[in-house]
Structures are given as C-alpha cells and as structure tokens.
C-alpha cells in the first residue's frame, strides 16, 4: 500500500503539467464557469435563454472529461519524454499498481470541476436543485468520473506510443461533447451512431445523472449506470494490456524514446 500511495503522489506531483496555482485554479474552477457563461449568452442570443439550464448537467459531466483526460495522458507522455519511464520499466515495480496509481489524484479534479460547473450554473442561470435525488445523483456522478478516468488510462497508452497523441485525446474529448448527450440529445443521431456513442464514457451515465437530477429514483436508470461502470472497466483493462504491450515492444525494439508503433 505504501508503494502504491508513493506512486500516486509522485506520478501526480511530478507529471501533471497543470499543477501550478494559476493553471490549476483556472482549469478546474474558472474554465467551467466560462463555459457556462458562453452557453448562457449563446442561449440568450439564439432566442432560447432557458436552454442552458437543460444543458448544465451535460456541460458539468463534459467538464470532468476536459480535466481528467489531459491530466492522465500528460502523466504518461511526460514520463516518457522526461526519461523517467525507463526507470519504471527497469524496476520490478508491480505494473498494475503503477498503472492504476497514475489516475488516482486526477479523479477528484474531475469531481471538483463538476461541482464548479453546477455552482456556476446555479449562480448564473439559476439551475434548480429542488427536486434532486441526491443519493442517485452522487452515485451517478462518481461512476461517470470513474469511467472517464478509465478512458484516461486507456488513452495514456497512446500518449506514450504516439508522438501526436494529443490529436487522439482531442478527438475523444470532442466525441464526448457531441455524442454523449451532454448537449445534443442522443436520439437525434441514427441508430448505429447511438450505439457507437454508448461505447463512450459519460453517455450511459448521463442518462442516470439527468434522471436523478429531476428527482427520479436511481433504480429507474440503474441499468444505464451499470453499463457506464462496465464501459469504464473495459477501457481500463484494455488500457492495461496496451501498457504492458508497449513495454514489451519498447524493450524488444529498443524504441522507448521513439514512436514504438
């Protein structure tokens, strides 16, 4: 456990590029506020000032992806570019432990960003929390943040394998914004696209999140939440195999400092 906690701290403190006061506060707290302002004023401009209230929950869920995914992928890419990943691979450290430790402290960042977005929506557009089923709402939030974190672990492997990893991350963040139902309802898309969207984190859990926000019991959407958790589980497992495969390939080809594939 001590080793695990030590890796949780060192991978976060040493490899998270936004861990300075300006960047951290502006990214985790202010950016969600600015997003709410943008959508609130856009809604007013487009003749639909009430719309942003219905988007707030989706924007809040999306804001978790915007902070968690880059945070975790940085942790992988800086490990390689800084030359410290070689030491990890040379050491007998438990790989599962090392893999999971990288994500731990990014998880609360997502939750903080989520809370900041909802607070901003309450203050700016008067988001009504009157009917929330808090137990279900919190459970859905925690599960969505977990599945996003799992996706971050999955993308982390790309971050150490490809030089242009940021494009892959950008694509996933964009897909979550467009296809998860955060703003555009899922049912406007053709059925195959809807199925594809359900393979992304957020999509399934957001149904549960929105439902519990308006006061429905969690039991009504527990299936979606379970699917959200399973989606995350699949990502984290595939990500781990990718992480091990990269290590094997890098050692065999001596290509740790290059693009391995």
């Amino acid at each position: 456990m001590r080793h695990f906690l030590s890796q949780v701290y060192t991978t976060y403190a040493g490899l998270f590029g936004w861990l300075n006061w300006f960047s951290y506060v502006s990214t985790v707290i202010f950016r969600p506020v600015v997003l709410v302002i943008i959508y609130a004023v856009l809604g007013r401009f487009a003749g639909n000032p009430e719309a942003v209230r219905s988007y707030s929950i989706g924007i809040a869920a999306y804001s978790m992806a915007v902070i968690i995914l880059p945070g975790i992928t940085q942790c992988y890419t800086y490990d390689r570019s800084g030359g410290t990943l070689s030491f990890v691979f040379a050491s007998p450290v438990n790989r599962v432990e090392n893999y999971l430790a990288r994500a731990v402290l990014h998880y609360p960042n997502g939750l903080l960003s989520f809370a900041a977005t909802l607070l901003a929506a309450w203050m700016i557009v008067g988001l009504d929390f009157g009917g929330v089923d808090w137990g279900g709402f919190i459970a859905a939030t925690l599960v969505i943040a977990l599945s996003i974190t799992a996706l971050g672990e999955f993308l982390g492997t790309f971050a150490i394998v490809f030089r242009d990893w940021s494009n892959i991350q950008t694509a996933f963040v964009g897909l979550i914004l467009i296809l998860s139902g955060a703003i555009i309802p899922l049912d406007v898309f053709p059925a195959p696209v809807q199925e594809l969207a359900k393979l992304l984190p957020v999509t399934n859990g957001l149904t549960s999140l929105k439902s519990t926000f308006v006061g429905n019991p969690l039991a009504d959407t527990s299936g979606e939440l379970v699917r959200e958790a399973l989606t995350g589980l699949v990502y984290v497992i595939i990500g781990y195999f990718g992480f091990r495969m990269f290590e094997t390939a890098a050692k065999r080809r001596g290509s740790l400092e290059q693009e391995t594939f």
Binding site: G17, W18, N20, F22, S23, Y24, S26, T27, F30, R31, V34, L35, I37, I38, Y39, V41, L42, G43, R44, F45, A46, G47, N48, A51, Y55, Q74, R163, D164, S166, N167, Q169, T170, V173, G174, L175, L177, I178, A182, I183, I184
Partner: protein, 253 residues
C-alpha cells in the same frame, strides 16, 4: 519578417500534431450550431456560420503564437534574435502571420461543418464590407494572439496557461455572439478586443439596411483597438528584452 514567416511555416508544417490545437474547437462549433438551430433564427445562424470558423482559427492561433517567444527562450535561440538588427516584435509578427495562414484552412473546415448542419449559406447584404471586415478580423486575431507571446514570458506562463484564456477569449472576442449581449462587467474588456468590433462590422455587413457610417465606425474602432493592443504588446516585448539584455532577470516573474 518574411524570413520569419517562412521559418515558422516550415516548422509548423513538419508537425501534424499542431492540427489538434486548431481542430479542438470544431466539436464546440457543432454543438453551438445545434443550439442555434433549435430556434432557427436566420440572423443568428448567419452570424455563427461566420463567427464559429473564426473562433476555430483564433483558438488555435492564440495557443500557438502564445508559446512562440517562450519556446524560443527555452530553446536558447531567442538570444540570436536579439543579437540581430531586426526588432524581435517584427520577427514575432512574422511568426504570427505564418500561424494565422496555417490556421485559416481549419476555419474553412469549421465553416463546412456548420454549412453541412444548417444547409444554408449566410446572406451577405454588403459583400465589399464583408470582405474588409473578415480581413480586419484576421488582423485582430493576429494582434490579439501576439499579445500573449511576451505575456507568457513575463508571467512565467506554464502548461495550462491557455486553458481558461482561450474560452475566456471566446467570450470576449465576439465570435460566438455579439459582445453587446454580455453583462456590462464583461463588455468593457470585450471592447478592448479588436475582434469584437470587427465582428460587429461583419454582423452589420450581413444585415440589410446597415449604413456605411455604422460599418466604418466599427472598422475604425477595430483599427484603434488593434493599435492600442499592438502598443501594449510592443511595450511587453521591450520589457522582455530589457530583462534578457539589461537586467538579466528573465527568470524572475
């Protein structure tokens, strides 16, 4: 300056990774268009079909230009620029122009995405004014982005510096909505952005019944704010230079 345009152009052309910074806002453009389509106001859709592509260009350009000076500094090549007789702001302006030229096609991609969604082209009432206004937006984007180049060095901006700057810039720039829709506390800083005036002139050139007097007033204010921002940027460049050449305190923020 031309040499620095070519140098920067070659440098960005070598890296496909740059593309992500420019395309990152296209998903945002898609959802914003979708929001506007819910009420289907033609004026709003016309405004967004011009503003959102420019937003895509600005967000990529601001990020890339913002890092030019600090990257040169960390790569130990800025000293050579100071040794040469060309003023560093001219070199940086050349680099900024290269970034803008590189970013403009991404605006076209964004425009096509918005067009595919709305299936409508904006109805331009005054094409001449529209073309001039777009050119002024491009100048505004260049000037506003160049502002961040010395600022990054002066504040010791590290990774994540632009995470809020870019969304905040979107609020103030007028690309997503005319800035007179903002609360007064945000409208004042927004009016210091040349793009907010240039977007006003684009809006006026889209609307039937706008007069040349209204349009030219917006142009004049865009040019004035560009000059103002340019002077502030120049002063910051001089402070950076002073820190490097005179006081030797560039590492103290």
């Amino acid at each position: 300056m031309l040499a620095s345009v070519v140098q920067q152009w070659k440098q960005i052309s070598l890296s496909f990774g740059n593309l992500g910074f420019f395309l990152a806002t296209i998903p945002m453009a898609i959802v914003m268009t979708w929001i506007a389509m819910q009420r289907g106001d033609r004026d709003v859709l016309a405004y967004l079909s011009i503003g959102l592509p420019l937003m895509t260009v600005w967000s990529g350009v601001a990020f890339r230009i913002g890092y030019t000076l600090s990257t040169e500094l960390s790569s130990q090549v800025l000293q050579f620029v100071y040794i040469s007789r060309t003023p560093v702001i001219v070199v940086s302006l050349g680099k900024a122009l290269a970034q803008v030229l590189w970013g403009l096609p991404t605006g076209i991609i964004s425009f096509m995405v918005v067009f595919l969604m709305t299936r409508a082209l904006p109805n331009i009432s005054n094409p001449t004014a529209f073309i001039v206004s777009v050119l002024l937006v491009v100048i505004g984007i260049t000037v506003a982005s160049l502002f961040f180049s010395p600022l990054m060095v002066l504040v010791g901006g590290r990774g994540g510096f632009f995470n809020t700057v870019i969304p905040f810039g979107l609020v103030l720039s007028g690309f997503v909505f005319p800035v007179d829709r903002l609360p007064a506390v945000l409208m004042v800083p927004a009016r210091l952005m040349p793009t907010s005036w240039a977007m006003d002139s684009i809006n006026l050139s889209l609307q039937a019944g706008s007069t040349w007097a209204e349009i030219s007033t917006s142009w004049a204010l865009c040019i004035l704010t560009s000059i103002f921002l340019g002077v502030v940027t120049y002063v910051m460049f001089r402070i950076v230079e002073r820190r490097i050449r005179v006081t030797g305190t560039r590492d103290f923020y």
